[in-house]
Subunit: 173 residues, 2 copies
C-alpha cells in the first residue's frame, strides 16, 4: 500500500508566487490575494488563475470577463496582504487607499507590485469549490526591478497565513 | 495607450517550481520537465498541469489517464534536466538509468525529487498548443527535507534554458 498521508506535505512543496487578482463591476473595483497564477501557453500569451466561487472577485470576473494580475514584491507588508487576502470587498473598499491604475480598462493594483497585466477571459473551468479562469494577456507593464514574493517566502519567512478559500489551503500543510 | 511591449517581461515575473511529469503507455515509461504544476482546489486535493501536445508524455497521459509529479530539489544537476527537459522519449529511454518507482500504478521519478504524487486525470482543457490536464491526487510521498528548485533559481542562478515547447517560453523573456 502507498502512504497517502503525505498528500498535504507533498502539495506544500509546489512553488508559487503571490499576486493580487482584480476585476471590476461597473464602477466598483475589487481584488484579492491569489497564489495560483500561471502561464498556460506562450503563443498566445495565456494566463490561468483559480478563484474561489465564494469570493466577490469571482463575481466581478464572471460579469466583466476580464481580470488583472499584480505580481507582488518581496517587500510587500503584512497589512497589505491582510487587506487583500483576509478581508472581503463586500465590507471593505480595498482600492480606496491603494495605488492602482486602469490597464486596458481593468483595475490593477500597482502598490507593492513589480508587474501588472490584464487578461481577457476566453473561458472558464468549473473545479467544484473554485473556477479556473483563463485567457490572453492584452496589456502588461513592469513596474520595478524588485524581487518577487514567493509563496514559500511568505509562508516560511514572514510566517504568513493562508485563507481557507485558497486553492492551496491544506489543513495538515 | 498602454505599453504592451512588456508582456514577456511581466510574464517572466510569475513564480514556478521545476518538476518531472511522468506517465506510462503499457509497460513504457516517459517523463518530461514542466514548470506549470499547480494546485487548483484543496478539497479534493486537485492538481493541474500544462503539457505541450507535441510531447510523448502528452500521448501517454491521454491514453493512461494518469500522471505523476516529481518535485525537483534545488541540487538537481543540469545533466538530469537536460535528459528530461531537452530530449524526447521517442529516441531516449529516460527511465533506463533514472531512479523511479510505481506510485499508485504510475511511474514516478524519485531521483532528485523531494516529493512525488500521482494524479488521476478527471478532465482536460484544450489550450491550443498545450493541454491542461487536471485531477485528484491519489497518492503522494515526501522523499527528503531538501529545498525545492524554483524556476527562478534554475533560470537565474544555474542559467538554465527553457525548451521551446514549454508554456512559458517567451522569446523576449
Amino acid at each position: 500500500m502507498e502512504n497517502n498521508n503525505d498528500i498535504p506535505r507533498a502539495l506544500g512543496r509546489i512553488s508559487y508566487g503571490l499576486y493580487v487578482v482584480s476585476s471590476s463591476d461597473g464602477g466598483k473595483f475589487n481584488g484579492q490575494i491569489v497564489n495560483t497564477v500561471f502561464q498556460v501557453t506562450s503563443s498566445p500569451a495565456r494566463i490561468a488563475v483559480g478563484i474561489n466561487k465564494a469570493n466577490l472577485t469571482h463575481e466581478y470576473i464572471s460579469r466583466s470577463g476580464a481580470f488583472s494580475v499584480s505580481v507582488l514584491s518581496v517587500g510587500t507588508p503584512q497589512v497589505f496582504i491582510g487587506l487583500f487576502g483576509f478581508r472581503t470587498g463586500r465590507e471593505t473598499d480595498k482600492f480606496g487607499k491603494t495605488a492602482h491604475k486602469l490597464l486596458d480598462g481593468c483595475p490593477a493594483v500597482t502598490e507593492n507590485a513589480v508587474a501588472v497585466m490584464t487578461v481577457k477571459v476566453e473561458n472558464s473551468v468549473d473545479m467544484g469549490t473554485h473556477t479556473l479562469f483563463y485567457g490572453s494577456v492584452t496589456a502588461a507593464e513592469t513596474l520595478s526591478g524588485g524581487d518577487t514574493m514567493t509563496y514559500d517566502y511568505y509562508r516560511n519567512v514572514i510566517r504568513g497565513k493562508t485563507h481557507k478559500n485558497a486553492t492551496t489551503f491544506n489543513t495538515a500543510g
